[in-house]
């Protein structure tokens, strides 16, 4: 029974990773950059909800909404100010380092406003736990909501990308910016939209993450950010189903590692699995293998 319990926790944690990884993967697919500040947007989202709900005492739904709106705007702002000017830079490393700068910036602004002490995040989800098998299997409300939210978002996102004009434009831009432009697609607007969606997802992920693990510091987003990046690469960066599968698998591996091997070794196991997968599938589970034309 404990196996099932761990599996469900794993899927729940994995759902959060998947949401963050989606942001990474979408931005990577379209802007071909690793947005190192993505993890910190999670933190901003969590702090926004914390402020609205715990400090101001407003209803949870408002807190989540505020987080989504703020992060969406923040994501677009970051893209416009810090990344867009470097889109045509001679080295792809330039924008990577700028993203690291943005990450430092967000962390330190949060540090100034909220201080370095951990805040305890009160769960915004007032859903009861589910007891199964005579109470042997306990599924918390947070777990249920997290998994459901993740599933809904994935489905909506897939529909958006495959069925709407804006979604198709995103696909086109990620294939070939130049050709997309010639076809009359507004590349700048499409990239901004991608950042907006990715950041909104990060806000949701932040709220869910902190509802399950209720300590909040300016560095809260850092490690989940890296893990989600690992998840995105694991599934094949640029691929949306890949990010989903990568995230879920990573969550399960991490929880199983913690439970069955050693809690100190959980991260090591996650990273080791990533390395092994990449050695056999150098572009991740669902990544496209692009060969250079000679």
């Amino acid at each position: 029974m404990s196996f099932l319990q761990y599996l469900i926790s794993g899927i729940s944690l994995g759902s959060v990773y998947a949401l963050i990884a989606l942001g990474y993967t979408m931005v990577y697919g379209i802007a071909k950059m690793l947005n190192f500040a993505h993890g910190d947007v999670i933190m901003v989202g969590a702090f926004t909800t914390y402020t609205v709900c715990s400090t101001m005492g407003l209803p949870p739904l408002l807190g989540v909404l505020a987080a989504v709106v703020l992060c969406t705007l923040l994501g677009m702002l970051i893209e416009k100010v810090a990344y867009k000017p470097l889109r045509k830079a001679s080295s792809p490393l330039a924008v990577l380092i700028t993203a690291i700068g943005v990450s430092y910036l967000l962390q330190n602004v949060a540090l100034l406003i909220f201080g370095g002490n951990a805040k305890s995040f009160t769960s915004v989800l007032s859903v009861g736990s589910l007891k199964l098998f005579d109470g042997q299997l306990l599924i918390t409300g947070e777990t249920i909501v997290t998994i459901l939210v993740c599933l809904v978002i994935i489905v909506v996102l897939m529909l958006f990308i495959n069925k709407t004009k804006a979604g198709q434009a995103m696909l086109a831009v990620s294939e070939d910016k130049g050709a997309a432009q010639l076809m009359g697609i507004n590349v700048n607007a499409t990239i901004a939209l991608t950042f907006a969606i990715g950041s909104a997802l990060a806000a949701v992920a932040g709220v869910l993450l902190c509802s399950a693990y209720p300590t909040l510091t300016p560095y809260t987003g850092s490690m989940p950010g890296i893990k989600a990046f690992v998840a995105a690469v694991f599934g094949g960066i640029g691929s949306i189903p890949g990010a989903f599968i990568g995230g879920i698998l990573l969550g399960i591996i991490e929880i199983f590692g913690k439970a069955y091997i050693s809690s100190q070794m959980a991260d090591t196991i996650v990273f080791a699995v990533l390395i092994i997968v990449l050695l056999f599938k150098p572009t991740g589970l669902l990544g496209k293998n692009i060969q250079e034309k000679v």
């Binding site: 000017p85 470097l86 700028t98 430092y104 910036l105 100034l112 050693s262 090591t268």
Partner: protein
């Protein structure tokens, strides 16, 4: 023509060495006259450490052209192997100078071996995939060191990955590496002079490697791997060579680090990916591929937060803003265009005045 090219490289090398030596002498004079705060004094060895890290990472990122986010992992290997060695022999009566010299060799060698071991599988990957795997390796090294227990008694060494009790040491036994607590009592052999000397050795190795047959081979791989293969360059060999030398030199930085502190433990702050990223920032800001740039950027960016210490809480914030602005200024095509225009105007005016003078 030929002589000119030789001397061009040589002159550039001399300038780089000159900067380091001049900076060292100025610092020594300032220290002698008592003009250096204790804070800055405490920064001198770290400055050398960061400079060595930046110069060595530049070999991987700038010269080989592969993004590595695991440089701190190699530093970790160098730090722990050398500190372990020093702690083992510190009561044997070995002269400190010899002990430290051997510690440096051991640190460099073990980090280099790790570089090769990791490099063989990793260098098959490309770009961002390679970056995330080097990051993963760095984190694994750091995490493994945190659960590593090594002790010694009259029966020899004991190793465990659970806790110090399971080492089963005898009464005379002594724990040398104590898991997350790390190594305590490493002799403090590092100082500013040694740091600068090691930095000069690093520069010597890196610059001479770059301007040699092997360096050209490594850069040819960076510029066009397919063409390099077509003229008979052994791509795997030279990738591993660059990676291993880079790792070994990071190991040397680790040795300096370990022998500068009485307690050595692996945290996410010193050997985690954040450190690797910080070094990468030095390399990129120094102008990818430029050894002197990496050197200068590492020193300036290490000093910047300290110079801003008066601003307390705002210093890291300012650091972040400065970093973003410098990246935009240095790399954004529009900024470059604008800078060139300004430079052109200044130069143009210079010419006019010259003509007027004539």
């Amino acid at each position: 023509m030929k002589k000119k090219t030789m001397s061009k490289n040589f002159r550039s090398k001399l300038i780089t060495f000159g900067i380091v030596i001049a900076a060292y002498l100025i610092m020594q004079i300032l220290i002698g006259t008592g003009n250096v705060s204790s804070l800055l004094k405490g920064l001198l060895v770290p400055l050398c450490i960061y400079a060595i890290l930046a110069v060595s990472l530049n070999l991987t990122v700038g010269i080989l052209g592969e993004l590595s986010l695991g440089h701190a992992g190699f530093m970790c290997v160098g730090a722990f192997t050398s500190a372990f060695f020093s702690c083992c022999v510190k009561e044997s009566g070995m002269p400190p100078a010899l002990r430290f010299f051997l510690a440096i060799l051991i640190g460099a060698l073990s980090a280099g071996v790790f570089g090769i071991l990791i490099g063989i599988p990793v260098l098959r990957l490309k770009g961002d995939y390679l970056a995330i795997v080097t990051l993963a390796f760095g984190e694994i090294i750091k995490n493994l060191v945190n659960i590593l227990y090594v002790g010694r008694d009259e029966n020899g060494f004991h190793v465990s990955f659970t806790n110090s009790l399971s080492l089963n040491l005898s009464d005379q036994g002594q724990v040398i590496i104590n898991g997350a607590q790390g190594i305590t009592g490493t002799p403090s052999d590092s100082n500013f002079t040694v740091g600068v000397l090691l930095l000069l050795v690093t520069l010597f190795i890196v610059l001479n490697l770059i301007h040699s047959r092997d360096g050209r081979a490594i850069m040819s791989i960076r510029d066009n791997t397919i063409a390099a293969e077509s003229v008979g360059i052994n791509v795997t060999k030279y990738k591993i060579l660059a990676f291993a030398v880079s790792a070994a030199l990071a190991g040397v930085a680790g040795v300096l680090y370990a022998h500068n502190l009485s307690v050595l433990s692996a945290t996410s702050k010193n050997f985690g990916y954040n450190m690797s990223i910080m070094i990468l920032v030095f390399v990129v800001l120094g102008g990818i591929g430029s050894t002197r740039g990496a050197l200068v950027a590492s020193v300036l960016l290490t000093l910047l937060p300290e110079l801003l210490r008066g601003l307390n809480d705002y210093r890291m914030l300012i650091y972040a803003v400065v970093l973003i602005l410098m990246m935009l200024f240095n790399w954004a095509p529009r900024c470059i265009e604008w800078r060139e225009k300004i430079m052109h105007r200044i130069k143009g005016r210079g010419k006019e005045t010259k003509e007027a003078d004539v």
